[in-house]
């Protein structure tokens, strides 16, 4: 360091504003330079002697300042006061704890919102067998799902077409059950009676039943879905003979629709020929397919036998249904009803025999057997 540079930094040296290296260099220079040593020591002595005495501020000055500040704060324009308030709130809001709490509340709140609103405004939702939401006043029939095909089934609305929803019973998931009877070992004898030529002839005439557009487009390709739809269309239109034939064909061919087709075929047969013919068919379907289709068939069979007055056979079917959770309650009620009916019949029989023994009671007992006569309506 030379004297010129020392002159430039001497004040920094005096007020300790130099870094350590420069300070050391300046001090080394002062050790061997009398001029610079004299300047440095002179300035330091002047600073020490010329230390300005600090005066205490007047008493009350601090208080007056604070009071003035308070008054000034009250006179602040509303926008500045709002700005300060917002700034204060923002200061608190920017704290990590507050930010994390806000994020947590947002996550919880949005989760609650979506959980609450996702299902829609209904308290509960009725769904079809394939999980499709169902309208409130609509009875639906479900085309069974093609085996291993994930696409949802189409739903056709019809007021009376479905034997699967009698008494408003809850629907069960038949998707898996429909697969079980997909490949029957051998078609039932009754189904096998349907000639193949007739099936081919029926297939060519399906265009007439096609209010369902899908049926028209896919029939030529013998699509199982289209064939089933055509049969269902015939059933809905009241062409029960045709529907029965088509359902029987589908059942005989096997596949994903076979079980439901067999059930609908029996239902169509009941419409055409009545319960005396349909009841054994229902029992065949029950025995062949089991599961939910079998339960539905057993219910129909029991209903038929009850209408025919064959209460013991009806009871057998109801007892089978008592093992099915979805039919259990209704089956027990039906059994109780049958028992009551049997009891009534026995009572009537006893009275009739008593009347026969007593000539005076004969007129009174004349109408009793009529009460035990089974209902004749079988369609």
């Amino acid at each position: 360091m030379d004297c010129e540079k020392f002159d430039r930094i001497v004040l920094d040296l005096l007020y300790d504003e130099l870094d350590e290296l420069t300070t050391a260099a300046a001090k080394r220079h002062m050790e061997h330079c009398a001029r610079c040593r004299a300047i440095g020591s002179g300035l330091r002595a002047t600073r020490e002697v010329g230390a300005l005495p600090l005066v205490e501020p007047p008493e009350g000055l601090e208080l007056r300042i604070l009071q003035a500040e308070e008054q000034a704060a009250q006179l602040l324009p509303i926008n500045k006061r709002l700005g300060r308030g917002l700034s204060l709130l923002a200061g608190y809001a920017m704290r990590p704890q507050v930010s994390m709490a806000a994020v947590l509340m947002l996550v919880i709140g949005s989760s609650l919102f979506f959980l609450r609103t996702q299902p829609g405004d209904r308290e509960h939702v009725l769904v079809t067998e394939r999980g499709v939401p169902e309208n409130d006043n609509e009875i639906v029939t479900v085309r069974p799902k093609k085996a291993d095909a994930p696409e949802p089934s189409r739903i056709a609305a019809h007021a009376t077409a479905s034997p699967l929803r009698e008494d408003g019973a809850p629907r069960r998931d038949r998707a898996a059950e429909a697969k079980a009877p997909a490949a029957p070992a051998a078609p039932p004898q009754a189904y096998a009676a349907a000639p193949a030529a007739e099936a081919a002839r029926g297939a060519t005439s399906l265009g007439a039943a096609a209010d369902d557009k899908d049926v028209e487009g896919s029939e030529a390709n013998a699509d199982p879905d289209a064939t089933y739809d055509a049969a269902m269309a015939a059933y809905r239109d009241g062409r029960y003979s045709e529907a029965q034939r088509r359902f029987d064909e589908i059942a005989n061919q096997g596949g994903a629709h076979a079980a439901n087709a067999a059930l609908y075929g029996a239902q169509a047969l009941r419409r055409v020929s009545g319960c005396p013919t349909a009841a054994p068919r229902f029992e065949e379907v029950r025995a062949r397919y089991g599961g939910s289709v079998g339960s539905d068939a057993a219910w129909q069979a029991a209903d038929c036998y009850r209408s025919l007055g064959e209460l013991s056979r009806a009871r057998q079917n109801y007892e089978l249904l008592a093992a099915d959770p979805s039919y259990k309650a209704r089956a027990k009620e039906a059994i109780a009803e049958l028992d009551q009916r049997v009891a009534d019949q026995e009572l009537a029989a006893r009275r009739a025999s008593a009347a026969a023994a007593s000539p005076a009671a004969a007129p009174a007992a004349k109408g009793k057997p009529a009460a035990a006569k089974p209902a004749t309506s079988s369609k």
Binding site: V10, L11, D12, Y15, E17, G42, L43, A45, T46, R47, E48, V49, G50, A51, L52, P53, L54, V55, E56, P57, P58, L61, E62, R64, I65, L66, A68, E69, E70, A72, A73, K80, G83, R84, G85, S87, L88, A90, G91
Partner: protein, 208 residues
């Protein structure tokens, strides 16, 4: 809370005051009203005026609090306000200034509660402190008179350096001149004081 505020920098306190914390402003006043008052007093040399101007400085701080940026140095901002107010006041007083104005300043310097600036900027031992407190009122008057006799630009720099303890870089920012100019003015001020206080230099050497 007080402990926290005691550890907080001036800039942090000012930001808190911007958010509406009055305690932060109280702490700022407590820290700086004494040095501001002394700076203003030595510039204006009238205690009553210095008291009002000191109050005005803090009121300007209140009114312009929203303009303070937290990355700025608080003391630089505060002394810029004080300097501007002093300049305004000096203009008002310039036509009325006469010799008798110096009298109250000397009276103030004689106040029993005064403290030597050297106590705050150097680190003398207890013995030296006791010795320094024993300086006669004549010495104190001479120091005050020597400072008051400095040219305005030199006195301003001297006070900002000695009273406010601001570094030369900040003084340059406040006064609006280069740092070298500030150092030059400071050097001239010290040379003048050296001449004015040459009689007491031997006394100062004796203290070391």
């Amino acid at each position: 809370m007080a402990a926290v505020q005691g550890d907080a920098t001036d800039e942090m306190l000012m930001v808190r005051y911007q958010r509406g914390e009055r305690k932060a402003f109280v702490e700022l006043v407590r820290r700086h009203n004494r040095s501001i008052y002394n700076f203003v007093l030595r510039q204006l040399r009238v205690p009553s005026v210095a008291e009002d101007v000191t109050q005005d400085v803090f009121m300007r701080l209140v009114q312009n609090a929203a303009e303070f940026k937290h990355e700025a140095r608080f003391l630089t901002w505060l002394y810029t306000i004080a300097r501007n107010l002093c300049i305004d006041q000096l203009r008002k007083l310039s036509h009325r200034r006469h010799a008798s104005l110096d009298q109250p300043a000397r009276d103030s310097a004689d106040h029993t509660g005064t403290q030597l600036l050297g106590d705050t900027i150097s680190d003398p031992g207890p013995h030296a402190s006791a010795e320094r407190n024993a300086l006669s009122s004549e010495v104190r008057s001479s120091i005050v008179k020597a400072v008051d006799s400095l040219p305005d630009d030199q006195r301003e720099v001297f006070l900002l350096r000695e009273v406010a303890s601001l570094p030369f870089r900040d003084i340059a920012e406040i006064t609006g001149v280069s740092e070298n100019t500030v150092k030059s003015r400071m050097r001239y001020a010290l040379d003048r004081l050296k001449d004015a206080l040459s009689d007491f230099e031997e006394y100062a050497r004796a203290l070391r």
